[in-house]
Symmetry: C3
Subunit: 138 residues, 3 copies
């Protein structure tokens, strides 16, 4: 069995944004040399998400609006977590969008459907954050 680990470093210049990280994950798969296996991609921070959906700006704008409806940032005082912090909404949004994805590797490539792309979802940005890529297989 072969294993490979990489960290992606991100520093999003906004509180919230979605970033396509598929190219970096592809690069990790290539470097791993794994032909058949599984690739775990997860946010290492609890106010961010990794998820798979469409690379379409209108949809990302819909996600932003929708998440604000389901788990609004303000007023900050509505959450007991907020006090020293103001990011309770980010912890909730991350539950909707998810922490991680597991992607099959087949023939040395991410085994994707036609529109699948991997995104980093930042909900409390303007600081350095990390994404973990862990690959096992052979």
């Amino acid at each position: 069995m072969r294993s490979y680990r990489a960290e992606l470093l991100l520093n999003i210049p906004a509180r919230r944004a979605f970033l396509n990280i598929t190219p970096q994950v592809r690069e990790a798969v290539r470097k791993s040399g794994v032909q058949e296996g599984l690739c775990l991609v997860n946010a290492m921070h609890i106010t961010a998400s990794v998820f798979i959906n469409d690379d379409e700006h209108g949809l990302h704008s819909d996600f932003e609006k929708w998440l604000e409806t389901l788990a609004p940032e303000k007023p900050h005082s509505q959450y007991r977590h907020n006090g020293y912090e103001d990011n309770a909404d980010a912890h909730l949004k991350r539950q909707i969008m998810g922490r991680e994805v597991v992607v099959a590797i087949t023939g040395g490539e991410l085994d994707f459907g036609p529109w699948e792309q991997i995104f980093y979802g930042e909900f409390d940005g303007m600081r350095p954050k990390r994404v973990l890529v862990k690959i096992i297989g052979e």
Copy 2:
């Protein structure tokens, strides 16, 4: 290490439905010959889900009603993703229900609790879609 890959082909004759795909996943596990390992089951399309819950029709009806409350299909014009498309709500619903499940394989079987069943959740159907089953282990 052993690996196995299968695709399930689905063509749901409705915009939205839930389908129990546990028998097909069991069959893939049997064919893989894997005794101890992990089984990834994911929608290959970004307007569909794979999730584990109860095989009970009342609950599925509750899911349908609940998802329409959280991410209503109509009016289509409320979403920026809609224009050429009308399926923005399907992309949102899929985030609530999830893209994938990872299930343990123990003794050559899906290692399930008493009521766990794997479902395909279609949110933009009436067209061919695929589910990926990827198994690694030995």
Copy 3:
């Protein structure tokens, strides 16, 4: 390839609660002897979740209030699943919070960011429940 399986037994004395199970998962990783691999942790019951977030009491109180807003328990009669049962809301809450997490194992340890902790989320407690830990790697 090495594999390891453990079950955690839980009996939460309330309908809903969040419990940090990171120490038990760490112990399973240690016992497995796996140095590089993947660790799956999933609820074996469909009215409970396993998720990763912050070990902060204010946030857990926010989760409880938020989930009651998105998928309220009462009135029980609003759900078709309820009749013999009264736990439809628990099946919905579990979809928001998720069934499982997959965590990388690196150097024999859970490969975590600074604040990641694994929680069991009970939404229909006062009865015995199980969590599965399955580890593969080498």
